[in-house]
Amino acid sequence: MAQTFQTTLGSRHYRFRSLAELMAKATPARSGDRLAGVIAESAEERVVAQMVLADLPLTTFLNEALVPYEQDEITRLIIDDHDAEAFAPIRHLTVGDFRNWLLSDQATSEALSDVRSGITPEMAAAVSKLMRNQDLILVGKKCRVVTAFRNTIGLPGRLSTRLQPNHPTDDVTGIAASILDGLLYGSGDAVIGINPATDNVAQSVKLMRLMDDVIQKYQIPTQSCVLTHVTNTLEAIEQDAPVDLVFQSVGGTEATNRSFGFDLSILAEAEAAAQSLNRGTVGRNVMYFETGQGSALSADAHHGLDQQTCEARAYAVARKFNPLLVNTVVGFIGPEYLFDGKEITRAGLEDHFCGKLLGVPMGCDVCYTNHAEADQNDMDNLLTLLGVAGCNFVMGIPGSDDIMLNYQTTSFHDALYARRVLRLKAAPEFERWLTEMQIFQDVKTHQLNDQLPAAFANSLRHLPKEPRHDV
């Protein structure tokens, strides 16, 4: 039964009609919650909501579903999979106490890992709303989520990158050129992942073969992925295509995922199908998910929730299927959800924190679109903050410019900057490869080789003389 939440501040009485309203109004300001009509009406009301939220027992979230159990398979997943034993050590806490516990010296990496399956997305979202950016960074860094396929991602002191060689017409030589550029800047240990220009099974299979050829020829300890719809990848597996990872965009409500054209049973089928191929060498994590605040509202499937709570629920979907990689595409969705650099930065840190707390191998597409109030300086800031927070991976794209998806994300150069200033390294297997291939003179100090490595110099001799399309 729904309770009401209220308090008096001076002469003003504040009343929140539902847990969903309380959560929404406690959320730091952002345009998407304004668009949804769930935002706090004043700065004071926001802090009052945070105060009321801080006094709520964590168990409230086990007793009161924000999206009805009967209507939503993700609520059912969250409740049915909740681990009461893991929850026991924090069961007695309020949301405010939970923040204190997370920041305390008791909450070691091991302790955080032990309670993980007892934390629900709503608890993670609630506590994040009370946390400052530095809290999100500090606790995020303590949470460790390590995954593996052909290399090991998420170890302490490591920052991996997805090499994203997108091309607007999926031109094979154009894609190969971006792959070469990325490899020679030390990018691609998280995955070499292409967003295809059209959603087409045959085209996806072709791109899978292209990347598989490159990975095999140069013996690169990494994995490939075509970011097409999960049902396309399932068809590709039936056609014996070389599928390393299965991709899907996921959201935090069943209706959001239906609007994306899948449900949980399809993800289970996909994970089993990809695992049956046995293509990993050091691990069996075969899924790659992308998320992002605002997707549920965009699909009109948010059930009156704020967008950050919906986003945290998407991590319940992700962790069910043992992904190798999950990243929020934080600034991609546009200014109607995250208006400017400040909102994008906050959301990126929240998403990383909530994902890691729940046990998701969280990376971030540190990005913005040309219609948002953001620029490269905002991305530099968020990249640096996420590097400090121990983010598993970021994107790597030539010169920050995705010429297929029309947005800006972190470049190969940006990732090297972050590795240098924060003393971070690539995944260990990939790092060894970078040295063996003579891509780096000294991989420890991030000194690239001034000379073109022999194996690649040889490949460049096979360049066609004239491109067949005009630029």
């Binding site: 550029d181 208006f339 219609h371 410019d401």
Partner: protein, 276 residues
């Protein structure tokens, strides 16, 4: 203190830029962008931001399309509920619905009998894309209709200001169309301020979600060519008409065309990286 080594290290693979617009082979100062490349990027970003705010010259476009296709009437000029660009950027819900005046005018011209397709041109986030690419794309699309053995009945052409993709659902429904095609300016990329997106939806009605649409993007002179885009769209449309559905249940199966316009030989993934 000084050495003879150059401060900026050039990348010998810079010549690969002949094969892609991607910003490859930029070189480096340490591991950072050299000054010249940094400023090139800043300029492109400044231009893209400006493009978002440039309004569609709807009068010129309407005239151009009427003349090019010898239309009996000028295309119908419609407007969403959005009042200005600032509102457009923050309130997509208003961009998905027609204003009262537009709705009334559409109702007045709608055919009583069903038509096969309503084509809706929408400014979206790049008026430039719509201004430049609408006529050449429509020319290629109309050729597909003419070459087809079946009869295709089209609703009056419409142009929408300050619109989002889903505004086509309302327009298609009001025009009694079995399917709607929305041609919309995509959000400008640094290298592509002129990219047109195509969204086809079977049985349009207000409130549909994105899983009911099929999309073809990056339609522009330096991206997906007009003829090829029209061919793919027409295949989708024919399949939608046959199966009476669109969206994720209608896969793009234009397999024979995936390799066209590619620098590799048909059917091959051969490229310089994996040649022996």
């Amino acid at each position: 203190m000084t050495s003879n080594k150059p401060i900026v290290v050039e990348n010998p693979w810079e010549r690969l830029r002949a094969f892609t617009d991607a910003r490859i082979g930029l070189g480096r100062a340490g591991v950072s962008l050299p000054t010249g490349k940094l400023l090139e990027f800043q300029l492109a970003h400044a231009q893209a931001q400006d493009a978002v705010h440039c309004p569609l010259d709807v009068e010129a476009l309407a005239q151009q399309l009427q003349e090019a296709f010898a239309l009996e009437h000028e295309p119908l000029r419609l407007h969403s509920q959005v009042e200005d660009r600032a509102m457009y950027l923050q309130r997509p819900d208003f961009g998905r619905r027609l204003n009262d005046d537009s709705r009334e005018r559409l109702e007045a011209v709608a055919s009583q009998s069903r038509v096969d397709l309503a084509v809706v041109v929408v400014d979206g986030l790049s008026a430039l894309a719509v201004q430049q690419n609408s006529q050449p794309f429509l020319k290629a699309l109309y050729q597909q209709f003419e070459q087809d053995s079946a009869e295709w009945q089209l609703a009056p052409l419409t142009i929408v200001e300050q619109g989002r993709v889903a505004i086509g659902d309302e327009i298609g429904a009001l025009l009694n169309a079995d399917a709607v095609l929305v041609m919309i300016g995509e959000r400008p990329g640094l290298s592509s301020p002129d990219s047109l997106g195509l969204y086809m939806t079977w049985a349009p009605e207000p409130g549909l979600k994105d899983d009911r649409r099929n999309c073809i993007s990056n339609v522009r002179p330096a991206g997906l060519q007009m003829d090829e885009a029209a061919r793919r769209l027409f295949l989708l449309l024919k399949e939608a008409r046959q199966k009476k559905l669109s969206g994720v249940k209608l896969k793009d199966r234009s397999e024979d065309n995936v390799l066209e316009g590619d620098s590799a030989a048909p059917g091959s993934t051969q490229n310089f990286l994996v040649s022996d």
